[in-house]
Symmetry: C2
Subunit: 97 residues, 2 copies
């Protein structure tokens, strides 16, 4: 199993309640149950105020590296990531267990 | 429940197999079962080669914000984080569920 982690940082001046940002969250939230490779799915806003805190995160589990690639290539995931590309940057890590 | 996510980036020129880095991983791995606030615990090296990939990650679950603060303040966690401060930087996000 691979746990796929993504932490997003909103660009300077972007706020969580902008319609495009709300739509970005909804696009990620809608992936749950739609992409068959996802064994688990969680996305949401960071709740802690710290200098090193990013704004938003995804935690999901997929079976293996092939499943991870299929998830990343899925058109609904690509569309959601495309929305976020307009107002945020992100970093990732994948843990094997 | 709060899911606490940390992604670490090794400083330029630091490699995973340096003794201080191996010891840093072992210090985090040893927290499992030691800090009572931890409802789940996972730490390990990133397995994906991407420009936006960080090197190491922690995913853990704690009951609430108070438990998160007790975890962060725990001397064993502080000691492990102190090791990592010598050779890495990190970003965090906390998701509530």
């Amino acid at each position: 199993m691979i746990r796929h982690l993504v932490l997003f940082k909103l660009d300077e001046g972007v706020s969580r309640d902008e319609p495009r940002v709300v739509a970005g969250h909804e696009a990620f939230a809608a992936l749950d149950g739609v992409i068959p490779e996802l064994k688990s799915w969680q996305c949401g806003w960071n709740i802690t105020v710290r200098d090193i805190a990013y704004d938003y995160a995804i935690v999901c589990d997929v079976e293996d590296r092939d499943a991870l690639q299929r998830y990343i290539a899925h058109p609904d995931h690509q569309a959601a990531a495309g929305r976020w590309r307009e107002f945020a940057t992100w970093v990732v890590a994948d843990l094997e267990s």
